[in-house]
Symmetry: C2
Subunit: 304 residues, 2 copies
């Protein structure tokens, strides 16, 4: 059982993204006592859903830790959210009557960087459903890409899935040679012809296409030239993100996101060798962020 | 005033597309007596809206002709609609309790072809908000492309606008050289930087991007290499649609759609010279289709 004194040192760390919201409860010894995962947590794509997901993930993390009896309003909480680099959304989130003791709000890339490097200095290349590059060096932030789907997010899971779909459609129309991806894509979407495929993909969003990304890598590994060309183009974009970040000489750079295991082996060798394993998750980064902000706050209060 | 006899020979022709629904009322001498334009008419994107648009456009055409007193249920009507090449949607539309005497339903490409060539044999390349190629020769139809945005519709207005946006974002990120399109796009969308642009384009659809297509052609005409590369890629896709259609030796081939005046000059010379001016609009094609179906029906009734 936690004593009242122990509870004081507990922090919640939350990472809200487009498809899910993850929370941890961590003690002063950096031990993760419990984790919780809820639904979409990107306030840009749905404010009410995001705030509900944040509260739910936090409660689930406490429950997972056996700390149901600890009230949210006794815990300082770091929250990293996609989209809050837009000032209007940051203000809106700050105005949310959150259930925590204090909420320290950061954008998701900053907490990812803090988690990966255990430091406020470093860089990350992220390839999950979306893609972007980010560095924070001496509090100077640099963000490249991450502009959303389909207009941005090149080299992301959604981008790879969309490219596969485009090439399969061209091939079914007889405009390019068939690819190994054709039959796999049709089977995966339970359809048999072009018309069925068109119906299956109508109006689909990034998360749908991201689920198709593996098709490209599977086919490329079997030597499919169309899949190889897609990977060349996507990997070169991610290379260019990494190169731009490396110009700033970050002390560490990591590659994060669900597509990393598939895509990293296709990056330029010189870049692969510079990519360090992330030390911790973005949720841990969110706790680090909250601790840092709280200590700044305490200093300011002492000076006042 | 029209006598009862004249009225018998009046037909309505309707072309329902993604952004608007157009109707004409035409007499037996192929004279267009009135036209009407209403809202979106693609039943795939909204069944109730499409059926409302069809009825409204028909009423507006009658009003424009000074024929408000002619009841819709006295008129045979040809209706061409995007999406009804999907059998399920065709059935659903056929089951609609339409307000006409009889409704003869065809997909939009067939009535476009009938209008352009005044014949059921011919081919069309369409580049408007979307893109596709279509031919009908001895009742054998061939459809290439037209798979929707962003997964298909290469070389369309929406595709050109999206490519421009992608390249401007890459350029604002410093990953490629700046384009003449950068400042024009930011000004057109009332924003001043990357973050403003990202917010302005979030979750936008094909019709939004199609309004940006002219930027590419304007910049290309001033020698912008990024715009020229976009046009090369888009034009080559439209060339490939035309080449595939020409293999079938259609007696006539035309290029239709709002992007035609901008894109046609960039197509391969050998293809440009084969493109014939469309003789009439798709709405006129819809009347031809209705007349043809009605005469087939009359023959069958005589034989029975």
């Amino acid at each position: 059982m936690f004593t009242s004194g122990d509870k004081k040192e507990l922090f919640l760390g939350i990472d809200g993204g487009g498809s899910k919201c993850k929370a941890i409860v961590m003690n002063e010894n950096d031990e993760i006592l419990g984790t919780g995962i809820s639904g979409p947590g990107n306030p840009l794509l749905g404010f009410e859903q995001a705030t509900n997901s944040i509260t739910e993930a936090a409660k689930l993390a406490l429950k997972d830790a056996g700390l149901e009896n600890v009230a949210l309003n006794t815990l300082n909480t770091g929250v990293g959210l996609a989209g809050v680099n837009l000032p209007a959304l940051f203000e809106k989130m700050q105005a949310w009557p959150h259930p925590f003791k204090q909420m320290f709000l950061a954008h998701d890339l900053l907490i990812a960087c803090l988690g990966a490097h255990h430091s406020s200095n470093g860089a990350v290349v992220i390839t999950g459903t979306g893609s972007c590059g980010f560095s924070c060096i001496d509090e100077q932030e640099l963000l490249i890409g991450g502009h959303g789907f389909p207009q941005g997010d090149k080299g992301s899971g959604a981008w790879f899935g969309l490219q596969a779909t485009k090439q399969v459609l061209l091939s079914l129309d007889g405009l390019i040679a068939p690819s190994l991806m054709n039959d796999v894509l049709l089977a995966k979407l339970y359809c048999t012809d072009t018309m069925g495929l068109v119906a299956a993909i109508a109006d689909k969003k990034a998360t749908f296409y991201a689920q198709l990304a593996n098709l490209v890598f599977d086919a490329a590994e079997q030597g499919d030239v169309i899949a190889l060309a897609i990977i060349d183009e996507g990997a070169e974009y991610i290379n260019s993100l990494a190169r731009t970040l490396l110009i700033k000489n970050p002390p560490r750079i990591s590659m994060l996101g669900g597509l990393t295991p598939r895509l990293k082996p296709w990056l330029e060798q010189a870049i692969q060798t510079q990519l360090a394993e992330p030390l911790s998750s973005p949720e841990v980064g969110a706790v680090f962020f909250a601790r840092h902000k709280l200590s700044q706050q305490n200093k300011q209060q002492k000076m006042a």
